[in-house]
């Protein structure tokens, strides 16, 4: 492959099987000697199991629980607080207690109803507000960090300030609604257990299985099935399902299939953390910011999961794209007896950006400047320090991107036009809003160097085809195509001679999980280097193999304890402008126009990038006004897609977008991460547009019609 510009689009590797529906997702698979598994789940939010009474099982049906786990009863993630099967305490409604296995689903569903469990029910913590009240009680705070300016210094500044602005901002749940519900198959073989399913992180699962099965490295194998969307929802959650099917397969010596019903998926799987963010900002008479304190509270749900890392990213983004003088931040993950929250595209950043964009927008009103002009005053520039005493090393194109988008959207004349429209129209009001944002690419801090230590392998066959041997999942984002393209370009080999088989831990080294906008930038760079190495030693007709290991960029070392140093090797950037029309009788918000500029280093494939922009923005915009999930006494209320309300084709409008080139030396062909960035600006821009339409301010997302009607 010899593209003049790497960004030129090529056909997607996995197109045919997907468009015809003949590509087998996990629920399309049937293997010999296969039974189904269904989970007995806790009906209560918090309590102790007193007794379990099982029904009489027909032949071929049995229950699998904690006693059948060869290793510790823990899903290995970060902390050891998540049982595979709860056998003593239950901490949320829906927590798995047992798995029933057998041939027929209707018999299993009947048996599920006949399992009788007695509990000693205890007082649960249902809401984030309750958890904040009780945050010093034992076990409630699951993680916390604090950093930034000395509080005594801030206190002195505040005493001399013209005004102290305090705001409390809250964000809701967001549910992934990947189209393919979670599914996992444990295949029983004499010498190994193979776990196959819908997933983003093969080695997270493999490590969890080695622990659960207390077995050797060669006794478990993880194979990714075509994955029907992930968005973070298939990052850590599948580890638990994998343990369930593997333990069950091991116990009953049959292959065990576990596929969720949509309502089950909506009620028991991880979601985006609801957050409460408190801002305390000192300003002078002209409205200039003198200091700012931010407190972030995340509702972790019942288990720690990845919440501590989500909190880190939320905190690292708590000042947005701004250089704020005398900035201080602290944050907590708090336990509630609700469904555990976890990874979701953006990973803590969407909450922080929604909050800071909203807060700065509100402060700007006191300075009599247009919100965007006010924000631009504080925009970080190349060479500026980060809030953790790291540095923005690379060129920042935000000013150009903003200027370009103002022109593209005709922002200034729209403002006037909308004002006139709103004066004349009693029912409908139009508004326009902006958001500025960034996304740190790759793992936080030294995660890549100290924890992930990615390795990639390229194997050249005798017929001179090259195979990518890496553990990263294509879940729709297109890495089968983009990573193959990087290798084909570096090797100057036709695209169809580069192959990327479905990852299988028996065949591939650990190139890390498919998360954190790291795949293109980190894994892609390793592949580019491996390909160049292979090219240098290329021998036609000979089988060859090259391996490449992660090398850390020289940075200010990250110290997690003091929260100082360079949190990310590089940042991607974005600007969004959104126009809405609000129906003041019903509170319904209609998107009218969406404009977006991004900078992701260098685009690897224009068409795939556009897919990330449109899809990410649709989710991000909907997070701001459309998608609403609530929990009542520990129970998720929206169990169907329509009750939750992700956008349909009639809710989204076409998006005018542009991507700016700014090649990054440590990314393949200059590329940085792009997948998460595109979601982040949606909600704050939609909020700003609604506020502009109604000339009011909101302290929460989603800004649903209910919220709007209450405000009018």
């Amino acid at each position: 492959m010899n593209l003049k510009d790497i960004s030129t689009s090529v056909p997607k590797k996995d197109h045919s099987g997907k468009v015809s529906g003949q590509l087998a997702y996990i629920s399309d698979v049937k293997v010999e000697n296969m039974v189904y598994g269904v989970l007995v789940r806790s009906p209560i939010a918090y309590g102790k199991i007193k007794s379990i009474q099982l029904p009489n099982f027909p032949e071929g049906y049995e229950a699998v629980g904690a006693e059948q786990i060869p290793g510790p009863n823990v899903v290995k993630i970060i902390q050891e607080d998540q049982p595979i099967f709860a056998n003593e305490w239950v901490n949320y409604i829906g927590e798995p207690i047992l798995m029933l296995v057998g041939k027929e689903l209707d018999i299993l569903y009947r048996l599920l109803n006949e399992v009788k469990i007695e509990f000693d029910e205890l007082q649960a913590i249902y809401t984030l507000d309750d958890a904040i009240q009780q945050k010093s009680a034992p076990g409630v705070t699951m993680a916390s960090y604090e950093f930034g300016e000395n509080l005594d210094v801030i206190s002195t500044i505040e005493q001399g300030a013209h005004k102290i602005i305090e705001e409390e901002y809250s964000t809701g749940y967001q549910e992934h609604v990947y189209l393919e519900p979670q599914g996992m198959l444990g295949i029983y073989k004499d010498d190994e257990i193979v776990v196959q399913g819908s997933m983003q992180c093969l080695y997270y699962i493999k490590n969890a299985l080695i622990s659960a099965l207390a077995c050797g490295d060669d006794e478990v194998r993880v194979v990714q099935s075509p994955t029907g969307g992930g968005f973070g929802g298939k990052e850590e959650f599948p580890s638990m399902m994998a343990c369930h099917v593997a333990v069950a397969a091991n116990a009953v010596k049959k292959s065990v299939m576990l596929v969720f019903d949509r309502s089950e998926d909506m009620v028991v799987t991880t979601k985006r953390h609801p957050a409460k963010i408190k801002y305390r900002t000192a300003i002078d008479e002209e409205g200039n910011i003198l200091s700012m304190c931010v407190d972030v509270f995340l509702d972790g749900g019942a288990n720690a999961g990845l919440s501590s890392v989500v909190l880190q990213r939320a905190l690292l983004n708590s000042a947005g794209v701004y250089k704020i003088p005398h900035f201080h931040a602290k944050g907590y993950v708090l336990k509630t007896n609700t469904v555990p929250n976890g990874a979701f595209r953006g990973f803590g950043a969407p909450q922080s950006f929604a909050g800071i964009e909203s807060h700065i927008g509100h402060i700007s009103k006191l300075s009599k400047l247009d919100p965007l002009d006010y924000k631009r005053k504080y925009l970080v520039k190349q060479g500026d320090p980060t809030i953790t005493k790291g540095q923005f090393r690379d060129p920042i194109l935000m000013e150009d991107m903003i200027e370009d988008l103002l022109n593209a959207s005709d922002f200034k004349s729209k403002k006037g036009e909308f004002q006139r429209f709103n004066q004349q129209n009693l029912r409908y009001k139009k508004g326009i809003g902006t958001s500025l944002f960034l996304h740190g690419c790759g793992f936080t801090g030294s995660g890549e160097r100290d924890h992930i230590k990615a390795t990639v392998k390229l194997v050249k066959s005798r017929d001179d085809k090259v195979l990518l041997k890496i553990s990263n999942s294509d879940m729709g984002q297109g890495i089968y195509t983009t990573l193959s393209k990087i290798v084909a370009q570096a090797l100057d080999l036709p695209f169809d001679r580069v192959l990327y088989p479905d990852p299988d831990t028996k065949e591939v080294p650990d190139s890390g999980p498919t998360v954190a906008s790291r795949t293109t930038m980190i894994v892609g760079k390793l592949l580019e280097r491996a390909a160049k190495k292979l090219k240098a030693q290329w021998q036609p007709g000979v089988e060859q193999e090259v391996v490449e290991n992660y090398v850390h960029r020289e940075m200010i070392p990250w110290d997690e304890k003091t929260f100082t140093g360079d949190a990310y090797p590089a940042y991607s950037w974005g600007v969004n402008i959104v126009e809405v029309e609000v129906d003041t009788l019903t509170g319904n918000v209609k998107l009218e126009k969406v404009y977006a500029n991004y900078e992701v280093g260098k685009v690897i494939d224009d068409r795939i990038m556009k897919g990330q922009i449109d899809g990410g923005l649709a989710q991000g915009l909907a997070y701001g006004y459309l998608e609403k999930m609530t929990s009542k006494e520990g129970r998720i209320q929206q169990k169907s897609i329509s009750d939750y309300g992700p956008p349909t084709s009639m809710d989204v409008v076409s998006i005018e977008s542009k991507v700016f080139d700014n090649p990054y030396a440590d990314g393949p062909y200059g590329a940085k991460g792009a997948g998460e960035l595109t979601l982040i600006g949606g909600a704050p821009a939609v909020q700003a547009a609604i506020e502009d339409a109604l000339q009011t301010s909101f302290q929460q997302i989603p800004i649903t019609p209910e919220v709007i009607i209450e405000s009018l």
Binding site: V19, G478, R607, T648
Partner: protein, 158 residues
């Protein structure tokens, strides 16, 4: 015994009349292109044609399809129209995770056969029962628009 035509072939089944057409297609006839995304008619991943009308196979009790003509994605895969849709989805970049796509292709074909020159609003309405979480729909709308143009004259052919 329920008899109907499935992808042009007369078939019969003794599955219970309240069984879902979706399960019958997938389990008994092992046609995997019809996917289950919600089971309540809210996502469109299980879209099929019954007597040439787009329908959600998860909401159809098989007792009601006796004597009808059922077509799944497998039944149109070899058609000229499918080829156009395939190419259009590819060049417009309409496919990401792929799980909604067979249903989306069925909805696209249904729309174009009724309305070969749809406006953007009509395209959006035509696929409004087919949820996609990856693409934000716009590149699918582009794909259908492209297919309408590339397959001009072809859509109302049987």
């Amino acid at each position: 015994m329920i008899k109907f035509t499935l992808n042009g072939r007369l078939v019969e089944t003794d599955a219970p009349p309240t069984a879902r057409l979706l399960d019958l297609i997938r389990d008994e006839f092992t046609l995997i292109g019809t996917k289950e995304g919600c089971g309540e008619g809210e996502c469109g991943a299980c879209s099929v044609f019954v007597n040439n009308h787009l329908q959600n196979s998860c909401l159809i009790p098989i007792g009601s399809i006796d004597g009808t003509d059922v077509i799944t994605i497998e039944g149109i895969m070899e058609s000229e129209q499918f080829k156009i849709l395939d190419e259009s989805y590819s060049s417009a970049g309409g496919v990401q995770c792929g799980y909604c796509i067979p249903g989306m292709v069925m909805a696209s074909a249904a729309l174009l056969s009724k309305n070969p020159h749809p406006s953007e609003a009509e395209i959006r309405e035509g696929i409004s029962g087919n949820l996609c979480r990856c693409t934000g729909y716009n590149m699918i709308v582009d794909a259908i628009n492209l297919a309408a143009k590339k397959g001009d004259g072809l859509w109302q052919k049987k």
